[in-house]
Subunit: 665 residues, 3 copies
């Protein structure tokens, strides 16, 4: 595959109301597209009857693609099962904590069911046999947005007991680890192990979720192995990793957006079997477009392999509240590139005329004709054809890592800070504050972090932390690193047992403070601003208080502390503050870490990296409906879009929802 | 049956705490009543054991009625099954999408279950044998508020597959019609057809609901046939059709009111087997009494057969928030007559002392004595005894039709416009605006509309519209009609597949505009007023824009358009506006349709028709707690209630919650 | 057992992360503690395998307690079953209206299941054999917070039918009692009796709940009999009775507090088998601490046997929003004593490190070290060691009884006054108004009331009242008593059939008024203040109106009435008013009852009684964050805490959340 940006869309010929491949390809070429993503939920079309295969629709698309010189990513079709398979063996559908799944929706199978695996394997092998040899096929996507789907079938529960046996050896150790004596839950022979669906022990239930996530990652790895047996050397394997689907105002059924750690599969584990990581990112737009979701998602996916990645799905028109304003679709596209995306595919090419996602609109509306959104995609397509070689291969070297963890997310479902403050809400508060300050960071899974790469580490609500991680963090600070941790960090071990000594466990010397009480903030303020949701009552033990609570009874306690430890410094933020206060801490911590603080002129965002030619590129993105002026904070640069040259300090004018791409020259 | 208003109440002798038929009959006569409605949920009383019948309580009531010269409507008792029947065959209770029904509440049976049908038939035959010959029995009500109860038992699902086979012939056609390839839902042999309870295809699921509604209508038709075999020529068959039960503040369990299209049976289909349509209408009162629910319900039921109808149930005291203010019960009664009701029966005579509806209070409170509400019913009873012959047989000739459709309602559960704007909300917005302007209309099922009767047609959110209906509408305008359509009209075909050409499908020439994008309105306004919920971005193509959006980015699009087409004119309202704006459009459209606009002095309402003597009658209804003055907009009239004569333009004074009935003289 | 205050905590050695009994005992002694409560949910620890017992952890605790001279209350372990028992017989878990219970949480068993009873009996017998002889064991707690858990298994339903047969004899009587003819629910042979899980008859369903409560009380009595066979004469039997768990803002899972009548067991019935009643009371604190929950709970539990009682659980730190302000823990402790508590045990000693209640924090935080809350407990411990003999044995002689009833509570779930006003909300409104006026009362179950003890009786929403109770109340007034009843009192009989004569049934002469209509108040006011939720339209028939509704249409009706009857007086409050209005009525009623009204200086609360030495004690409790001054309303007194003497009328200064204990001298 020659190194160029992949630009295209998911293409569903099988959903089209009439034959129009030629017209579609023509319109795609007009938009500067070079890739189609196909087939990821087509099992019932590919295998209409048990062991009867029909690849005719695929062939038509592949032939057309080759004719038009378009590349194709072929998806394995397994994330929605055909009706005949469920008739054959109803146990294919998952039993979850809530229900026995019924046939209908996607992603409701028991991924460990043997019948499912047998048929999934066969259809994957047939598909690969049929497509791997095609010239236009540049790679494969295995499954789609894979998760564990809550599978808790008897088979899965039996595997879990085996896993526990291996991990803990004895029921005694199991009881002790999770405190099962509580409410008479202890188990004294493995045969007595109860149905996990009723489990009320947060630690054990979280362990089960961890196990379920492991099954999901192994399932993907199994698919990758199958694909690898057929694919050509030059063909990649990717997967579409998605984020937590955050609900907002609950407007209509499909209401939500991508943000935060995915609860139901671990991205780092899942990405191991991939050649290139892929993702989808959907986000609010119109008056609510900030670029934060694009940046967070990109920073997380790029950090999985410390490599650039595909955006396998991004929004075109989608729902009524996402119809983009003029300029927004293009701004979004460049924002993905600014995070290191090397492929960008709309979901989807055309709006579907029936089915569940009729109003998750594609680039084309239901009339399958041109429209303002499609036309803006054409503008972008033309631009990157000119600029693509300048933009591709962006290398980012971030000095800040923000640590995230599935186990912490699960833990906080069991032990919530507050009804209105989930783990991912804390992550967002911590990430967005960095983002708005233009302090770029990697978003790194705790399992994968190489601390030596970073000068500053941020841990939002890292509730569950095993001893070895704490040791690493302590050494990171001792060696000269800057650590910024928030409330609810380092509270319990990897099995969600709260550490039974001084909080924060092991690191209280590093932070120079400890606490053993916390409170609902009530009317408490900090630096004159309301504290919300949660407040730890910090007692300084060497640390400097950067602000005590303003409250009749809690005034003697610190809310934020700062402490020198070894060659480094450790900040602890004991409560949920306004973003402004967090940004002050970040500014101080960033300077401590030896960084020059970037210009901060939010809602204008700067994102930088080194391009393939070795030049620094700076994306300057205006996330507002107002025209903005900024002074060039870099050396002499040329705006690749306008070809205009700016001297240091020279005024750069950005129209609403517009951008500049400054190359240092 | 001599032609007179039926005035009475549901009478449940079997719920009485002690024997008091004679006292009740006396009190009814004092209230001017002439009819009782009995027996509609008494199966366990009529048939205490399988095949053991006991009609003694019926006999007592019928004998007393004949003694007192009261008429009786006898209901078949089938809408609540006896306990012994469920013991005999538990499958009598429906399996729905949500659950296996348990014994207890009414309306939870599988209406297609053979055991149920066998026993229902037998009890109906026995009841008819027993009562059809009685002099006092003037007619029969079959079942009560019949709906499909979500039945999705295996038997019903098998029937549905038969229906699909008949309708579509092949699975190929089925797949194509509903787009089942989506998410791997296509079916390639009828044996593979899956359990509909998990279906996520909006089109197919809506087809199943349509099928369920059809079963409910057929079930009623089956009951009507049974009754017809026994009843006398002079006895009618009616049924109690109810409306959607809209929830408001969720105050207590029985909280809601009647408004809008009934989701779970189609009134037009159901009414075919009836001699006379009947209905129940419950509505907010006290400070929230507007008459709109009474008018909508009446206009809909009257339009089923273009004939006057029975109000088989209307509220007496009901719940705490419906205890009528002085004057309201009487105002309500006349409002029903003003829509064409020819029978009016309270639900119910007495407040029940136990059971689920203890606080759905009747005319009598639990003390079974007189009270202000009963006394007001007596006032009305005396008045209509004097005026009845003037009021009966009201003929209404409305020139406006408002089209409604079950399929559109179902579709919008799957594809909602907005969480807070259902199909019936749009219908209400469209209807109430007409009502408040005194533009009387028929409310007509799309299956039944005879467009040649009307000068103006209104289509609120007529989302699903088959080709032939669109052709009719186009011709209606071409011939000189005035069409007023709102957003989300004509989007998809009868199977909920969005039309894949220009929107609004087929009619874009008629409207002189098209659109292929829509949006959440956000901050957009129209004519200075906030737009809510939904906005289509209309591009005029010949039409005049009656208002462009006021918005930074959408300002180039029209929100409302008007277009001359053939001899007629077509208005399109692309967004949800304040009622005031809709009323302006109606006023313009009404004038276009050649109507003289009626006086509009809301909250005083005018409702008119021709009485049996051939005189025009005008009900002038004051829906407010304030005294109102209006100037007589008619010729010389006499107020039948006060006997006062008003010259044209003369001042008419209306006390709070009071009315005049003006006869043109 | 020598007569001293029991002061201690629940102690869970089996939940401890490491061996530290000695350290714990030392810390307890420092806090002045003298009792541990142990073992109440330890079945899986005590009996790790079927019929294999292990009392080693118990022995360790008992040995340490004897060494340190601490007393121990041993709980039977039955309220959470071990996993092996459910494996052995899954039917041990209850089938409820909502579900088949799964293993995991506590309190989910079918208390009538024979397997459960067999094993519960065996483990209780073994435990008693093992511990009854220990010197330190002063008593036993049977089970914990026992309720019926919604058990509706086939066995329980069969027992219910037997109960109905015994109670009603014939199905005819059953049908008549509950009005089963309604919606065809009548039953004509016992074999036809349907599954109660679907029942929609409020009366019959409430009868089933009453039956379930009876089973729960009998189950406790069965345990008491088992214990009695082993225990020493000097050992008591207690049980932890809890209140309704009221939800507030739904902050986190464990969100709620104790207030009002317990729906799922009847305290009076349950307490019959106990030597000493026990309870747990959890309540809002910080800015929301009022003492009302402590006072209500104490007044209810004390009234069960007209004897002092144990607070077996009270909160230490608990959740983030309950972390006590300085002074609050101590104020709470004394408030319990002021209601007649003779034992006070924190739940729990230490914060648990895992499991469901990790954040229901104990006296010790997770670091198991000292902290401000523990230190405040030490202050209290030292004080009562000095003052204990003065405080113990408090005798209260209240002249007011507030009547409460389970049946009324159940009834109002079926027939709610308003979504936002439950039975317990009315009870709280009625009780708290007394509390804030320092009018101390007993809170008495209607089954247990001895009216001759009281001068004034208050009945909040005593909806269900059998004839004999009404007769007693009538006689109470006739004899000279003062009755204060609220809306929704005396509406129906014990089977929830509304009385079919004049309301309020039987007592309308006593109240000198009647009503047969009621309404949502809408905009109605009374004495210038908004009426909420519900308003009966009272017609005076001899009574004086103490306020008519201020409303255009309801102004002719009284909202509150007062009537002389015999030698007494009866007040009726027909609507939900502001507390201020209710307090005015109480003041007038109190004076009528011959009471001298106590000083009312809320948020300072007075609670009084006679101590064991025969002196009057007055607790003066400052429930606010502000310093307060009150003038001593008593004779000459000495503050036992400060030793200061106050003359009558002398100023007493109370710091925030502080108190005085005044002994008359």
């Amino acid at each position: 595959m020659k190194e160029e940006l992949l630009f295209g869309a998911a293409y569903y010929a099988e959903y089209m109301p009439y034959e129009r491949i030629d017209r579609d390809m023509e319109m795609m070429k007009q938009a500067g597209m070079n890739v189609l993503r196909i087939a990821e939920s087509t099992w019932s079309t590919l295998e209409p009857h048990d062991n009867v295969f029909d690849f005719s629709f695929l062939d038509k698309v592949l032939e057309a693609a080759e004719r038009e010189n378009l590349s194709v990513i072929v998806g394995t079709p397994t994330y929605a099962v055909p009706a005949w398979l469920v008739k054959k063996d109803p146990a294919v559908l998952a039993v979850t904590k809530e229900r026995q799944e019924l046939y209908g929706r996607r992603q409701n199978m028991d991924i460990m069911n043997e019948t499912f695996r047998f048929h999934a394997e066969r259809v994957i092998r047939k598909l690969l046999e049929h497509t791997a040899g095609r010239r236009c096929v540049i790679g494969f996507q295995i499954d789609n947005e894979t998760k564990h789907y809550g599978t808790a079938s008897p088979g899965v529960q039996a595997l879990f007991v085996e896993y526990l046996k291996e991990t803990f050896g004895t029921t005694g150790k199991l009881n002790e680890t999770f405190g099962l004596a509580y409410w008479s839950n202890s188990v004294h022979s493995w045969e007595d192990f109860p149905d996990m669906r009723g489990c009320i022990n947060g630690g054990l239930a979280s362990e089960f979720e961890k196990f379920q996530r492991k099954l999901a990652a192994e399932y993907l790895s199994w698919q990758a192995d199958l694909v690898r047996a057929y694919k050509r050397e030059d063909q990649f394997i990717t997967h579409n990793l998605d984020f937590e689907w955050k609900k907002f105002g609950a407007d209509i059924a499909q209401d939500g957006y991508s943000y935060g750690v995915q609860p139901d599969i671990n991205h780092y584990e899942a990405a191991k079997c991939l050649t290139i990581a892929g993702t989808d990112i959907y986000h609010p737009t119109q008056d609510f477009l900030t670029g934060a979701e694009i940046a967070f998602g990109g920073d997380e996916i790029r950090s999985l392999k410390q490599e650039n990645y595909f955006v396998l799905e991004c929004q075109a028109q989608a729902f009524k509240y996402w119809t983009p304003y003029p300029g927004q679709l293009r701004l979004q596209a460049y924002s993905h590139l600014a995070s290191g995306a090397k492929g960008l595919m709309y979901w989807n090419w055309h709006s579907i005329h029936n089915g569940y996602e009729t109003y998750w609109k594609g680039l084309l509306s239901h009339d399958l004709d041109t429209n303002p959104t499609y036309e803006e995609a054409c503008v972008f397509g033309r631009e990157w054809k000119n600029l693509g070689k300048k933009l591709i291969g962006l290398k980012k070297k971030n000095r800040i890592a923000l640590l995230v963890d599935n186990q912490c997310l699960t833990a906080m479902k069991w032990f919530p800070i507050d009804r209105d403050l989930s783990y991912n809400d804390v992550v967002r508060w911590a990430y967005d504050s960095l983002y708005e300050m233009n302090l770029e960071c990697d978003v790194v899974d705790v399992q994968a972090v190489d601390m030596s790469r970073y000068d500053m580490i941020v841990t939002p609500a890292l509730y569950s932390a095993k001893e070895s991680l704490l040791q690493q963090l302590e050494e990171f600070v001792a060696r000269g690193g800057v650590l910024v941790s928030t409330f609810k960090s380092f509270v319990c071990n990897e099995y969600l047992s709260v550490y039974c000594d001084k909080q924060p466990h092991r690191l209280h010397r590093c932070f120079g403070m400890s606490y053993n009480q916390f409170t609902e903030p009530g009317t408490a303020a900090l630096k004159g601003q309301k504290v919300q949701y949660f407040a730890e009552l910090l007692k300084t033990e060497g640390a400097e208080s950067l602000g005590n609570y303003e409250h009749k009874y809690w005034g003697k306690y610190a809310g934020i502390t700062c402490n020198d430890y070894g060659k480094g410094r450790a900040y602890y933020i004991g409560c949920f503050t306004e973003k402004g206060i967090l940004k002050e801490i970040y500014a101080q911590a960033g300077r401590d870490a030896g960084m020059e603080l970037p210009l901060s002129v939010w809602p204008v965002v700067f994102r930088s990296g080194e391009n393939a030619e070795g030049h620094m590129l700076h994306y300057v993105l205006n996330y507002s409906e107002n025209q903005q002026e900024v002074l060039n904070p870099y050396k002499r640069v040329r705006d690749l879009l306008s070809d205009k040259v700016y001297e240091p300090g020279e005024k750069i004018l950005l129209m609403d929802w517009n951008l500049a791409i400054l190359e240092e020259i």
